[in-house]
Structure formats: structure tokens, C-alpha cells
Symmetry: none
Subunit: 400 residues, 2 copies
């Protein structure tokens, strides 16, 4: 992988423009002999493949199934092993919260405590409305602990997010969650010296939460885990000297883009409004990240035919996305989501790069197996950005 200091030294600002289209979870595996891409009628993707150099990208490492965080960080050119995004940060980004360097986020579950033991780690999976009522109750009682601001945000069912904002909240905190039922609650412990203050704040928060919920019949405590601050990561502008705009409709992906310093362009909630926004605002950016969600969603549903349909819908959008005056257009995915597995998987993703100075190969079809024969071969996702930068003629020569 390319060292960041070398990338910073070689990258230069030019007028050329790059578009990275991420069809989330695009890759699949066969059901009845065909993958979702092989089963789909996608003439525009096929035409794009013909004009491109093609291959497969491995998001993190062979055999590794990435979450959305590492899958995307790698696409943006970061080593996903170096920059690990804590669970709490991902939860916060996923519900649309913005974070700064002073924030520490944690994921929490409402739970049931009886006779000093956790008897239900999810408080009977209470309804989301009940969750919202409890969060409101807590928010009224707990707003600050020792100069640290505390904010609580409801999620779905028993899940919520706690955001602590103050000085020196970094460091390694162990989960305050015994992980199994029938055990007593766990205090939050700091696993490094620097985190001792944060641990004290969290434990004070849990004490006050228990007091506030003492009269609740079911959700009378909470388990907290994934305490995390933002990773200390250079922005894409620092690395590549790119002005980056994120065109995405889901909070998680906007959050991941904001982590690396992209502008988040308000795209509304539908593929149609997203495309219209690109057409209006895209020209302001020399790097466009365009996220399409439904290939992943239908894969996660385990619905093969629906994923095929999502690919076909994406295929119809492609010509207009790709024709917005870009010098380099790349189509790829953050990870595969085979409908057969109803989950993210480790399978390499398809990647195609269309650019004036790129070789074309003899790939004529946009599919996993066709792309195995493409000229790119097999690459790490984190090597994609240097290739796009090169093709946009934005990298100076290395050495004389």
C-alpha cells in the first residue's frame, strides 16, 4: 500500500475530475449457476465494461468480510487495518450524527437487571416508541457529567447511542457489557492510562442512568459498548489535493465520507433526487463519491431476484451519472453481498475504470467472472485511488 506521506508529496491539483461510483455490496456468488450480475440485464454496465479496464478488488484481505467502514475507507485509499473505526462511531454516523474530535460515541442497549444480574440483554426487544420515551426521560435527567456534555439518541428497538463531548475523552475503554445473561453488570474499565477519565465519566453516567430507570418494569438498566472517538485520519484533500463531494442518501455513507473530509451534498432520499443533485452540484467537485445502496440492501435481504432488479435499476441510472463531464469514472463496491448469504462476504468486488489513458481489455460483460479475466487483475481496494489519481494525471513522477 502506498505510504501517505509519499501520496501527499506526489499529488497535485489539476482541473481533471474523478467519479467513484460505489454500488454497495455489488458482487455476489451464483445461485442456479449465475451470480446476480450474471442474471441481470444490464446493457449500460456491459457497455461501460467494454470501454474500461476491468478486474476484482479485495477490500481488506483475502478471506476477510468487511463492514461498511473498512470497505469504504479502503476505497478512499486508506489502509483499513490502520484506521479502525470504532463501533460507537459507526453507530453514530449510521443515525446521522456528526462528530468532532471532542466526541466519544458508544452504542448501548436497554436491558433488564434483576437481583443484581442481567436477565435480558435487550429488555425484551422493546418497541422503538418505548425506546424513544426512555431516551427522552434520560435526556431530561442527564445532560452533563463533570463538564462533559452527554447526549442520548434513540435507535431501533432496544438500541441507542450515547455521545460524550468534552476534553480528553480518547483512549481505550472496555465494553461495559458482560455479553451473557445471568451475569452481573460490568463497570467500564480503561485499558490505557489516558482513558481513566473517560471510564470514570462513563461509570458515573451508568450510575445516573440506573437511578433514572429504577422505576421501569423492564428496561431498568443499559449495557454499553464500542466506546470510540473519531480516528485521527488525514483528509482526502490533504492526501490527494481533491475537492471531494459525497452524493449519498443514507446517513452511514454520508458519515463515512465526512470522516475523510468530503463535503456532504444533500441529495434527498431517493435515487432520482440523488441523480438530480449530482447534475446540479457535481461540477463543484473534482472528486465525486456516488453511493448506490439498494444492491446491498436486497443482498442482505437474501432476495436474489430483488438484487437482480436493484442492479438493473442501477444500470438505468448509470449513463447519466457517468456522463457528468468526468475524466475518470470508476464503478466498484465496498464489499460483496451475495443474496445466497444474506450478508456481506469476503468475495472480491468487480471494478471497472474508464479513462482516456487507461488500457482497455477484452472484457465485454460486467460480471465477476468476466472481470477475473480483465487487465487490472486482482488488487486491493486501497490501491484504487492511486490508479484513479494516475489516470486523472494528478500524480507527479516518483523519483528521477
Amino acid at each position: 500500500m502506498f505510504p501517505e506521506n509519499v501520496m501527499m508529496a506526489l499529488s497535485e491539483k489539476t482541473p481533471s475530475r474523478i467519479c467513484m461510483i460505489v454500488a454497495d455490496g455489488l458482487g455476489g456468488i451464483p445461485v442456479n449457476g449465475k451470480t446476480e450480475l450474471e442474471a441481470a440485464a444490464c446493457p449500460n454496465l456491459d457497455a461501460f465494461a467494454k470501454e474500461s479496464v476491468c478486474g476484482r478488488n479485495v477490500p481488506v484481505a483475502l478471506g476477510i468480510t468487511p463492514g461498511s467502514g473498512p470497505g469504504h475507507l479502503a476505497l478512499f485509499g486508506y489502509n483499513p487495518m490502520t484506521y479502525q473505526i470504532g463501533r460507537g462511531v459507526l453507530e453514530a454516523l449510521g443515525i446521522g450524527l456528526e462528530m468532532t474530535e471532542f466526541d466519544m460515541a458508544a452504542r448501548a442497549n436497554f436491558a433488564t437487571l434483576k437481583d443484581g444480574l442481567i436477565v435480558d440483554r435487550r429488555a425484551g426487544r422493546i418497541a422503538t416508541e418505548e425506546n424513544e420515551r426512555l431516551v427522552k426521560k434520560l435526556s431530561k435527567k442527564i445532560t452533563e457529567i463533570d463538564d462533559v456534555k452527554v447526549q442520548i439518541f434513540p435507535g431501533k428497538e432496544h438500541r441507542f447511542v450515547v455521545m460524550f463531548t468534552g476534553e480528553n475523552l480518547g483512549g481505550d475503554l472496555a465494553d461495559a457489557d458482560p455479553q451473557k445473561e445471568g451475569l452481573p453488570p460490568l463497570e467500564c474499565r480503561s485499558t490505557s492510562e489516558s482513558a481513566s477519565r473517560a471510564a470514570r465519566i462513563v461509570n458515573a453516567f451508568i450510575t445516573r442512568l440506573n437511578e433514572t430507570l429504577a422505576d421501569e418494569p423492564v428496561a431498568n438498566t443499559a449495557l454499553m459498548r464500542g466506546f470510540a472517538c473519531l480516528p485521527d485520519i488525514p483528509t482526502m484533500n490533504e492526501l490527494y489535493k481533491l475537492k471531494c463531494g459525497a452524493f449519498a442518501t443514507y446517513p452511514m455513507y454520508k458519515g463515512l465520507a465526512s470522516l475523510v473530509g468530503m463535503d456532504i451534498v444533500d441529495c434527498g432520499a431517493t435515487p432520482g433526487s440523488q441523480l438530480e443533485t449530482l447534475k446540479k452540484k457535481g461540477a463543484e467537485y473534482d472528486f465525486v463519491y456516488y453511493h448506490y445502496k439498494y444492491t446491498d440492501s436486497r443482498g442482505e435481504d437474501g432476495d436474489f431476484d430483488a438484487k437482480v432488479k436493484a442492479i438493473e435499476d442501477f444500470d438505468k441510472l448509470l449513463p447519466e451519472i457517468a456522463s457528468q463531464n468526468f475524466d475518470v469514472v470508476c464503478i466498484t463496491a465496498d464489499h460483496s453481498t451475495p443474496a445466497k448469504m444474506s450478508a456481506h462476504s469476503w468475495h472480491p468486488c468487480p471494478i471497472a475504470i474508464r479513462a482516456k489513458y487507461e488500457m482497455t481489455d477484452d472484457v465485454e460483460v460486467f460480471s465477476e467472472r468476466a472481470f477475473d479475466k480483465g487487465s487490472i487483475g486482482r488488487i486491493w481496494s486501497a490501491d484504487i485511488m492511486p490508479m484513479l489519481m494516475a489516470n486523472a494525471l494528478k500524480l507527479k513522477k516518483f523519483g528521477a
Copy 2:
């Protein structure tokens, strides 16, 4: 990449012989659908490909366009990120100077100083003859500073090279060049403790240079940059136990070969004299580095047809080069130089290895796209030497 200490432990001296033929800048990209290699009639290269295992090599990293230095170091089996060759060293090697561990080289420009400001960084791009006159004048006045020997060598137009020879000249020196016109000259500053003596010498040199040139109407000062000593690099003999001979006609490549401890065999200046020299002297070496320059030169010229012709000329030389009793013959390039770009590029190079114990594949044509389907696949340039050593049966088993 293979650790050097392991290579030293595994390599052994045997009578087998390796030839690495570097057709500089050989790879290209299509113009009217064909690359230079695809457009060339090169029956000998095609025949070689049929007898070889083929693939593509990435010189430094995907997307990275290497200079000749890193491109060659990687071919010789060194990590080009670890061993960076300073600009001054490359300039010195490029005009045919030899360097030892006691030398520090710098690139310099004659420039124009007026009222304390640099008003022309290139002194009006003075003629090379004028440059030679000025260098002679300086050389007469400045031969030594504080026990450090100073030698000055003219280049083209306003460019020259200064070589400082003495003890303890290593270290990091910042450029003594404001980079922009309209600014005052910069002193040379050391960016590490150990370089403070070198900085003092350089600044004393600049003072004396300014005194000597004070009466010149245009070239009355100089800007110096790229201060560099030889990298501390193990020789190929140390790494591989090979007796290495460089057969090259251009100073830069002789210089790069001498950096890694090869014998430089005087080959004259033409492809004909180079081939004759190989036939006479080649048998003295168990590793032959054979450099062909014109594929790069014509690519740099941006002349597609001339690069095709250079490939065809190389094709005619190939049978005699490759038949000089070698056990392993490899044809590759230090980087691609597509005529379409008139410059080095990041595109992977073609590589073919012909050896008794190597697989052949079903590649029948010597070209970038044919080689994409070869058995070698995509490798780093620095992985080539271990493959050649293995095929020459010069590497012991690793582990039991």
C-alpha cells in the same frame, strides 16, 4: 517483497547464468486500438513469449509513475521506497560521473540576482557553451573548502553539477533555492544535526561562487538543490552472490548499475557495439544487465511510429543477445513510456522469463494485453530477481 537478509542467507554461487534485458519504457497504451508492441512486427519477441512464462510487472506501486532510478532499483530486487536516490546523485550519474561514499552531489542552475532578489532562476537559459565557460571560471577559483574537494561539471543550458568530496558529508540538506522568482536567495540549511557541516560547506561554496561570478552580466549566481550522497545499499554480489556486468550505452544506466555494485563494461555508444561487447565479454559474468534505450527515447518523443520502429530494431537484436549461453533470460522494462503520453507512466510493464525450469503458458504474442493472460500474472518489479535466481537454481530451500 523479499527481506534482504533472507536473500543473503538463501542465495548461493553456482555456474548458471542469468540475463536481464531491460527494454527501457517498453510498455505502452493503445493509439487507434493498438499499443506500440501490438502494432510492431516482432517475430523474435513473439517466439520468446511462446517459450516463456509471461506477465506484467508493477515498478513501484499501482498508479505510480517511476523515474529511471526507482524503476531500475526495483528490477535489481531492491525496494524502491526504501532506497530513494537523491536528485543530485541521479544528475551526477546521468552525466557519467562516478561516486563513492565520500561524495555528495547537487544539481545547480545558473541564475540572475538583482538588488538582492532572484529575477531569473535559469539566467535566461544560457547556451551550453556559455555554461562551460562559467564552469571553467569557477573551477579555477574554487577547488577546495575546508578540506572538502569541490568539482564542478557543466550540463545542458543553465544546468550544472557540483560534487563535494570529503568526510562526513551525509545528512539531510534543504534546497538552497527559493523555487520562485522575485524572492531573495536561500541559504542551505541542514534538516538534521549530522548535516550541519555539509550545510556550512555548501554555504561557503555559494559565497565564493557569488564572488567569482560578481562581474557576470546575467549568470551572476546559482541555485542549488537535490543534495545527495549515495544510498547505503547492499551490492548485488552481497545479496545474490552474483558477478554482475552492466552492458549499457547511456551514462544514467551505467550509473544506476554501479550503484548496486555491477561492473560497468565499456560498450561504446551504439546498439551494434553493445551487442559485440556482450559477445566478447558477457561470459565473464553470471548476471548480465542489458539495457536498450530507444524504446524509451521514442516514447518520450511522443512518436508512436518511431517507438514501433525501436521495438522492431530491438526485436532484430534479441536472438543474439538471448543466445549467449544463459540459463535464464528475462525481458522486461523499468517502466512504461506510452508514446500517447510522451512520458513515463504508471502502466504495468510486460515481463517474460525463459528458463528450463519455468512453466510456459499459452501466451503466443509479446504484448501488454497478451501478457495480462500469462501465468506470472501481476507482480512487483522487485519480485523479479528472486524468480530469476530461483530459475537459475541459485536459491536454497527456505526452512526445512
